[in-house]
Structure formats: structure tokens, C-alpha cells
């Protein structure tokens, strides 16, 4: 009794200490960067106001729409194709690398290493590196998204397999089923909903990322945003942003519907 009261008191002190620490770090940080908190805060509404005035699409910006739309479709297709290819590759790799379906300990370590390598190089860095070899093209963007997605999906798929498939896998192994029978009859059907859910998430994410990659590789929606922006056609740039937001929301809605049906 006495000790649990002491424990809770201790815990209270710990929490207070941590909050004070974070506050202190922020304070010292803004001193070092000579960041004026009051002025920073005040400039936020001003910045938004400027954004609103300059980037607001006008009636004449509508004429940009067909071109924006065409590039947007191109970008969405890029995102979908890179995700689908990434999913197929990742599934193979995750199967041979997971603890329950994996080949052996060495392969598991190697697969984990590869996945975190691909994942931990920022997308922008991937694009810049790939630009050297593949120049400004859709393919460069495709590869950058592909490699990044592979990094995430391998890791996600391995965890899904380990969490969701180990029990059924054991049951089928015990019936005398062979390795491939177990994979196709137990593991894949069992993990399908979670896997699809991850793929949908990755598509949404890649549409957003494809915009950024497009600025670097000179393709898709990112490219025309860049062009409009640099030629001071802010209303057209604003239109582009609106179109992106619209498509992302539509995609999210669709994938939520799909999720509801499959889960």
C-alpha cells in the first residue's frame, strides 16, 4: 500500500520533470536560433492571408484545369503502378524473410536490413540519386516511389505475417501440408485484408509523394505546379493544389469504402 502510493507520487514527479524538460529545450532552442516567439506567432495570420489572396484561383484559372487534370491522372497512375509493383515484390521478400514463413535466420537479417535501408533514405534523396542515372523522366519518379514503398511494405508485410498467420500456419503444417500449400491456403488468405489495407494506404501516400517527386523529376502534377509557381501564375498554382487535395480526398474515400467491404 505504502509503496504504491510512493510509486504514484514518483510517477507524478517524473511527468512534471519531463514536461519541464521539453519546455526548457524549446526555450533554449528559440534563444539559440534567436527566434522571436511573439513575432513568429503574429506572422502566421499574415502569411495565411497572403497565401489566400495570391493563390486564390480566379475565374480565369479554370482554363488551366484540363492540363492540370491530365497531369494529375498521370501522377495518380504513377502512384498506383509503383505501389502495385512494390506490393508484389515486397510480398515475395516478406515471405522469405519473416520469422514464421522465412527461409532461415541469415535471410531474415538480410531482408530486414534491405527493408530498413530502402525505408530510411528520404524520398527526395532517392529521386536525386536516380536522376543521375535515369534523367528527368516518369521512370525516375516511378523508381523512387517504388524503392521507398518496398522499404515500407516489406516491413509491414513481415509483421502482418508474423502476427496473423503463425497459428493457422502451424495448423496446416500439422496436417502434412507442404510449404507452398501452407502459403497459398493459409498464409495468403489469412493476411489478405491487412495487406490490402496497407496497399491502399501506400497508394494514397504515393499520390502525395508523387507530387513532390514530380517537382524534382520534372514530370506529372509536381512539374506543372513548379512551372506555374516559378512563372508567378499563383492562381494556377493554387488551382493545382486544390486539384491535388480533391483527388487525395476522393482516393481516401474510395479506399475507406474498399476497406469497409473487405475487412
Amino acid at each position: 500500500m505504502q509503496s504504491s502510493v510512493k510509486f504514484l507520487k514518483h510517477k507524478g514527479w517524473h511527468q512534471t520533470g519531463i514536461i519541464a524538460l521539453i519546455g526548457g529545450i524549446y526555450f533554449i532552442g528559440s534563444m539559440i536560433l534567436s527566434f522571436d516567439n511573439a513575432k513568429g506567432l503574429l506572422s502566421v495570420p499574415k502569411a495565411f492571408n497572403w497565401l489566400f489572396v495570391n493563390f486564390r484561383p480566379t475565374a480565369s484559372s479554370v482554363e488551366y484545369l484540363p492540363r492540370i487534370w491530365q497531369k494529375l491522372i498521370q501522377t495518380v497512375l504513377l502512384a498506383i503502378s509503383s505501389t502495385v509493383v512494390a506490393a508484389i515484390v515486397s510480398m515475395f521478400v516478406a515471405l522469405i524473410g519473416s520469422k514464421v514463413t522465412g527461409v532461415n535466420g541469415y535471410v531474415q537479417v538480410i531482408v530486414r536490413g534491405i527493408a530498413s535501408f530502402f525505408r530510411n533514405i528520404p524520398l527526395v534523396a532517392w529521386s536525386m540519386i536516380l536522376l543521375f542515372s535515369f534523367k528527368q523522366s516518369d521512370f525516375t519518379g516511378f523508381l523512387a516511389l517504388l524503392l521507398m514503398s518496398i522499404g515500407y511494405l516489406i516491413r509491414a508485410f513481415m509483421e502482418i505475417i508474423e502476427d496473423e498467420a503463425s497459428e493457422t500456419m502451424m495448423a496446416l503444417k500439422a496436417t502434412g501440408a507442404s510449404y507452398f500449400q501452407v502459403i497459398f491456403q493459409a498464409v495468403l488468405p489469412q493476411i489478405l485484408p491487412s495487406v490490402l489495407s496497407w496497399i491502399l494506404y501506400m497508394v494514397e501516400n504515393n499520390v502525395r509523394d508523387a507530387t513532390l517527386v514530380g517537382i524534382l523529376t520534372g514530370t506529372g502534377i509536381g512539374f506543372i505546379f513548379d512551372v506555374y509557381y516559378k512563372s508567378f501564375r499563383f492562381d494556377a498554382a493554387g488551382m493545382t493544389v486544390l486539384a491535388i487535395i480533391f483527388v487525395v480526398i476522393v482516393l481516401e474515400t474510395i479506399s475507406n469504402q474498399i476497406r469497409r467491404i473487405i475487412l
Binding site: E167, T168, M170, A171, L172, K173, A174, T175, G176, A177, S178, F180, Q181, I183, F184, Q185, A186, P189, Q190, L192, P193
Partner: protein, 251 residues
């Protein structure tokens, strides 16, 4: 006839999980393995179909040693040994009948199994087994929509379609309510007699063991301390098995 001789296993050096376990079971016998948590019951059961590789001893099924089998032979032994799990271990998204048919995979070519191509005869047998376990109206239902007791009966049907000589049940009723538990135990007992099976169940419920089992094996700290007819299980035995008085369980 299942003969286990001097079965040994340790997961870590110098900490044996099983030491020299030996017992014999005749066909048509329902056996309960009892003992405290961590005694080694699951380890015994999983060694019997080699889901766990033990360290030594013999496991003879009708005179053939399962332990020395190569991969192909092991598949052939495993299909003669059904297994029923505490958490049912079904593919929840698939239908009841698909899960039952999984029990045939050990008999099929890899390709036929991968694509789930079953013969008419296998499908008919699956249906008749579902009838046997009382689920004839659920064949096309997804397993995720069933209750625990129903899932466990699907698991039992899946093991029966293997045409097993042995069925291993690791705490088959631990997740079930008392009524479903009773039903599952009765079903297992019935099937053991009907098909002349060797049915081995790990149980924590001593009253259930006493009521349904023909033979009881008691395990304590990896050692066999009791192996006799269910009728001979006494308070004394339980006291040594569990290190405390467990009298009301016997009633």
C-alpha cells in the same frame, strides 16, 4: 498403437522441459494429459507430430519411428495425426467447408493443394463430417462468423478428414463456455470410439479428464508422475502433481 519411449527435450541448456517420458496408448483410447502450467504438456503434444524437434527418444506409431522420418515421410506421418488447438487456428476469412478440406492437403500434390482443387469425393466427405459435428447448415459460412464452440467443431472436422490414427488436442476447451466445452468433450469421446482413434488431450480441468478420459497421464516439471486408468486418479496423486490440495475438483 502409439509408443513413446524416453522422450527428451530441452529448449535451453541444462533446463530440461521433458525428461525420459515413456507411455503407450492403444487405439480407441481417450487420454488426458494433466499437470500444472509449464509442466511440458504442449511440448509432449507437439513432439508427437514433430512441430517441435525433440532431443531424443522414440515415438513409434504402429511400430514406425516418426522421429527419424525425412521430410517426405514426415508429411505422410503428419497426415495420420490430426491436431486440434485451443484457439482453433482456422483461416477465419475462408468458409467452414474450405477449412475442413484443408485436412486433405497432406494427401494432395503440391499444385492441386496450392489451387485448392479437391475431388468430388473429398467434398462429399467434408459435408458428411460437418453433419457429424453438427454444422451441416454452416458449410458456406465464413469461420469468423462462428462461435467458439462451433469453430472448435470445424477444427475437429478438419482433423477427421485426414483419416487420422491419432488426434492431438492442446487444451481444446480452454476458451469455451461450460456447455460448449461439454459438447466438444462428448464429441471427441464419441469419435474416439467410433473411429478407434487415439485421442490425446491436454486438459486443465481435472473433473473433465476424470469424466471423459480412459487413461490419464500426469506430468510435473517435465517428468511423468502418473500413467494409469482414469479411475485410479486419487487425491494423493493430485497432491503430488500440483503441490497442493485439489479435492473438490475430483467431485
Amino acid at each position: 498403437m502409439l509408443e513413446v519411449k524416453k522422450l527428451r527435450k530441452s529448449y535451453e541448456k541444462d533446463r530440461p522441459a521433458l525428461t525420459d517420458i515413456s507411455f503407450n496408448i492403444k487405439p480407441g483410447t481417450f487420454v488426458a494429459i494433466i499437470g500444472p502450467s509449464g509442466a511440458g504438456k504442449t511440448t509432449i503434444l507437439r513432439s508427437l507430430n514433430q512441430l517441435i524437434k525433440d532431443d531424443g527418444g522414440q515415438i513409434l506409431l504402429d511400430g514406425n519411428d516418426i522421429r527419424t522420418a525425412n521430410k517426405m515421410e514426415l508429411r505422410k506421418y503428419r497426415r495420420q495425426i490430426g491436431m486440434v488447438f485451443q484457439n482453433y487456428n482456422l483461416v477465419e476469412r475462408l468458409t467452414v467447408i474450405e477449412n475442413v478440406l484443408h485436412g486433405r492437403l497432406g494427401y494432395k500434390s503440391t499444385i492441386a493443394g496450392v489451387f485448392g482443387r479437391y475431388t468430388q469425393q473429398e467434398k462429399e466427405e467434408a459435408v458428411s463430417l460437418l453433419k457429424k459435428v453438427g454444422l451441416e447448415n454452416f458449410a458456406l459460412q465464413r469461420c469468423s462468423e462462428l462461435s467458439g464452440g462451433q469453430k472448435q467443431r470445424v477444427g475437429i472436422a478438419r482433423s477427421l478428414i485426414q483419416h487420422p490414427k491419432v488426434i492431438l488436442c492442446d487444451e481444446p476447451i480452454a476458451s469455451l463456455d461450460p456447455a460448449s466445452a461439454q459438447n466438444v468433450m462428448e464429441l471427441l469421446k464419441e469419435l474416439t470410439e467410433e473411429y478407434n482413434l487415439i485421442c490425446i488431450a491436454n486438459l486443465h480441468q481435472i473433473n473433465m479428464a476424470k469424466k471423459y478420459a480412459d487413461q490419464i497421464i500426469g506430468i510435473r516439471k517435465g517428468q511423468l508422475v502418473f500413467d494409469e486408468d482414469a479411475d485410479s486418479l486419487s487425491e494423493d496423486v493430485l497432491r503430488t502433481l500440483y503441490d497442493q490440495e485439489i479435492t473438490k475438483e475430483l467431485k
